[in-house]
Each structure stands twice: as structure tokens, then as C-alpha cells.
Symmetry: C2
Subunit: 302 residues, 2 copies
Amino acid sequence: MPGSIFNQQGVFMKVAICGGTHGNELTGIHLVRRWQKTPSEIQRNGLELSTLIANPAAYQQNRRYVDNDLNRRFSLKDLNDPSLQSVEELRAKEINQILGTKESPKVDFIFDLHTTTANMGLSVIINSLDPLVKKAAFYIAQKLPDVTLFYQDSDRNSDNFLMSLAGKGGLLIEVGPIAQGLLRAEVFEQTRLAVMAGLDYLEMHLANEAPEVPEQLPGFQFVEKIKFPEDENGQLIGMIHPELQDKDYQPLNPGDPMYLLETGETVYYQGEPGLVPSFINEAAYYDQHHSMSLMKPITIKL
Amino acid sequence: MPGSIFNQQGVFMKVAICGGTHGNELTGIHLVRRWQKTPSEIQRNGLELSTLIANPAAYQQNRRYVDNDLNRRFSLKDLNDPSLQSVEELRAKEINQILGTKESPKVDFIFDLHTTTANMGLSVIINSLDPLVKKAAFYIAQKLPDVTLFYQDSDRNSDNFLMSLAGKGGLLIEVGPIAQGLLRAEVFEQTRLAVMAGLDYLEMHLANEAPEVPEQLPGFQFVEKIKFPEDENGQLIGMIHPELQDKDYQPLNPGDPMYLLETGETVYYQGEPGLVPSFINEAAYYDQHHSMSLMKPITIKL
């Protein structure tokens, strides 16, 4: 192997950057293509980099997925279930051979690049218990303005996210607001800078030159997805209330306007106080009539 | 026929409201459903109203279209061409039986409801030479704030828009910015108000009570669609420049930033001065790598 991929101590890490896990989120696809053309931008001492367009069939159709969401297909159980034969189930098994296998991974760390139609800015989603993964996220949060951290305890084998294939896990970079099926320069740049900062941290870590990151940072933990109002036939009968639209991460209190019904009536939040909404009016949630996710403020510890 | 659809003079008009001509533009679909449930909102003296979800197959898949753009399938030649058998070509022929035929139309006037990812506010597109159609558009422009009028001379038989099926033609209501695949309350309301104002005008016209509208109003005429920068393999290599993003209808002058290339370079506008961009970064344009339309300011005369 070429010497350049080793750091001074001969330690190295294998890192994969994935875009297009959802086929109509173009930002990650175009970043991956850019880095396939000019790999120097992602090269770092001690890191061996690979890139992947995760769901080219969905990208071809300009859809999130063809049969079902690729980013829920990576549990060990599903990867090993020969009866699962949808486009995305088969693609997950292919990716398991390319980056995994889950039981014996070829890569240590995955950056998975996503976008959202919600006004969430730059969010970094951590599914791994590994301190290095959390440290890389903390570094990104310190380096870039207005980063929001999501943390989810997760058992690697049952975790169904693509990034759970990596030995240490990885980070899902989620930037918005942006419509599906297009590029915006500022979203592209935020996503690029998040990956750059993450790669920088891994490089410095391997060289024993990583700067201190805090022992803990504030973040959010997923509580539940909630549904739009429906009629007796299960059809949508309301929209996000204009006063809630674009207010991701702002605490919801009982009595706050939540939905505007077709009838002109307002539905008010009646749930637990102190939770915050995220993914408000995310287009990809509409297939299940989900209107948003509710999150709980937490302290994330290394 | 029930008397309520006749005005005092016994004159009446048949009007159709169509949503979902593009299957992932949900605003029109949900407005049509609302009016199917509560038709009183669109009932007007002298008008016989019908509503139509134009492309349910595309809506089912949450895509603009299944095989090709339904809103380009309504020229008389194509409607009468038995060799055209795509999902949308067949659906156009069905709609021609429901609302047309183009040679002998069942409806006089069509409102066709669309949305755009571009920051275009409320635009009203007039394809008809009929003064009544222009007057209805002028009334909407006077009644609602910040309406932009598009006018296109068009020969009804060769016109391939859905609304060209109607005897007098119709108005395409185009509201943005909104991502595909979701609803926003303010876009929904703007679209609703535009249709309400249009119906009000038709009702008043039939009762000989229509208010004066100006003899002419400023608007825009389509000049051309222009393409994103591509590499030698035809792949996109640039994005809308941040300084141009969301600046629909603001004049472009030679030397204005237009695209930001992957390399970080800026491409400047080099075309004719005085044109204005519209549909900047419209998601539906990406399949052809179109970045925007250029429009010429014109005076629209009745």
C-alpha cells in the first residue's frame, strides 16, 4: 500500500463518504462526484478514502427511493435475510459487500450526506457509542457556526442506517432547508465544510495532534415522529401552521399553534412541554403523513 | 339543468379547476380535494364548476410525471396521434374526453394550479388571446399583492398546455417558492385567493357587473430557457450563484454573477441586457439541466 495513506505512526483509518443514499438529495451526489474528480480535497494523512453514490437507481428516477428507504436496510438481520429482494434491499446487500460486511467491516468511519426540506441548518447525527465518532462531531460543532447535534444510543447490529456498516460508525450530515431535486450553493458549502472538518479531526487524531474538544455538549435525542391531522379516510386535512413553519429547534409549549386545518381552524400543541420539533414539513415524511419529529434536549457526553 | 348555474340573463360558463397536472405539486391537489368536499367555496352565479386531479398516476408515485410532462401533451396533433401511448399521452387523451375535446370543448375556462421551487411569488400565466382571459388575469393582479403576469401568444390548436383544452383558454397559477412533495400554508392560501379572484371576475362579467380593469398592464414574455454549465460528458459542474439565487424577476445585466462552478470560479452573465430571470433553480428543470428561463418585459394589452 502506498506510504502516503499512513501517518507517522503507521496507523491509518479507512473512511467512506456516501452521497445519494436518498436519490433526490443532490447535494451529496454532487459532492461525491466532485471528490471523485479531485480526490486531493479529501486526502488526509493516515486516511484511506473511498466515495460511493449509494442509491444510483433512485437518483436515476429523481426519487428518494425506488421500493423503500435505503437508509433503513442495514440491520445485520436484514442484510442476512435472503427473502428481502426489493431494489434497496438488494442494494444494501451490495453496499454491505463494498463497505462492510457488517460483521467484518472494510471501513472504519462513514460520512453519509443528506439534505432536508426543513429549516434545520447543519445537523450532525451521531448513532455510535464510539468516543472518536462523538469527538469528530464535537469538533465539527466547534469549528462551524450553528451546528445542531443529534445523538441516538444504538446497537450497531440492529442499527439500520448505512453508516452503521463502518466499524466505528459515522456521522450523518443533514443540511436544510433545500427542496429535493436541486442544488443550492450555501447548502453545498455547509455540507462540504462539515466533511472537511470531520476529516481534519480524524487526521489530527491519528497524528496525536487533535485539539481538545469539550467533555460534553448540548444536543437532542429523538423522541417520536408525529402525524398530521387526518380525516376518517386517512387523508391529510391540515398543514403546518405558518407560525410553526421553519421554527425547527424552537421549544414547543402546550397551546402553541401547530396545524392549520382546511377548515381554517388552528390545532394547538397539547403534548409535553420542553420538547423541540425538527424535520418540520420534511417532504420525505409525507408518505407516512408525518409532520415533524419531536426531540428532547440532552447533554451528549464523550 | 338547475337554475343556480345560470345568471340573470341565462348566460353561463363552464369552468374547470385542475390540480396535480404535475404529480408532486401538492398544493393544487389538496385545493381540488378541498373543493370536491366543499364545493360551495367555488360556486358562483352563472358558473358551472368541475374539478380534476389531472395526473393521479404521477401523484401516486410522488413524481412530476411517470413517462413525460403531462402539461406538454395537449396539442391537437398529439391528442389525435394514436401512436402516442405513454402514461401521460394516454392521460391527455382521457382528459381531452373529459374537458375537451379540443375541437369541441365541454369547458370554457380552465384554472390549472402549479407550484415552483423558484422564489417567484404568485405568477399568472396567460396563453390565450381571449380578452376575457386577460381581463380575469388583470383582475387577479389588481386584487392581490405582487402578482406577476406572463403572457404568451399562442395558437390554441398547437398549444400543448392542459388549459388550452378550454374554449376560451385559461390561467395557469404558479406559486413559489415551495419544495415538491409538500404543502405550505402561505402558498396554499395565495393559490386559493388567485382562483377565488378569478372566479369572482367571471361571475361579475356574466352579470355585466365586472369592475373596470386597465387596458394594459406590465408583464413578461418568455424568451428562452438557459442551461447550467456542463462538462465534456454533459454533467452539471455548477450551481446558481448565491447572489442570483431567489432573485427571480430582477433584471440581469452583463457582468452579473450567474453560476458558481465546482472549481470555485464564478460565471458571469454575458447575454442581452434588460432580460429578467424566472424559474431560477426550478427542480423540474434539472432533468434537462436548465437553470432558469429568461423573460422580456412587455406590456400586455387586452
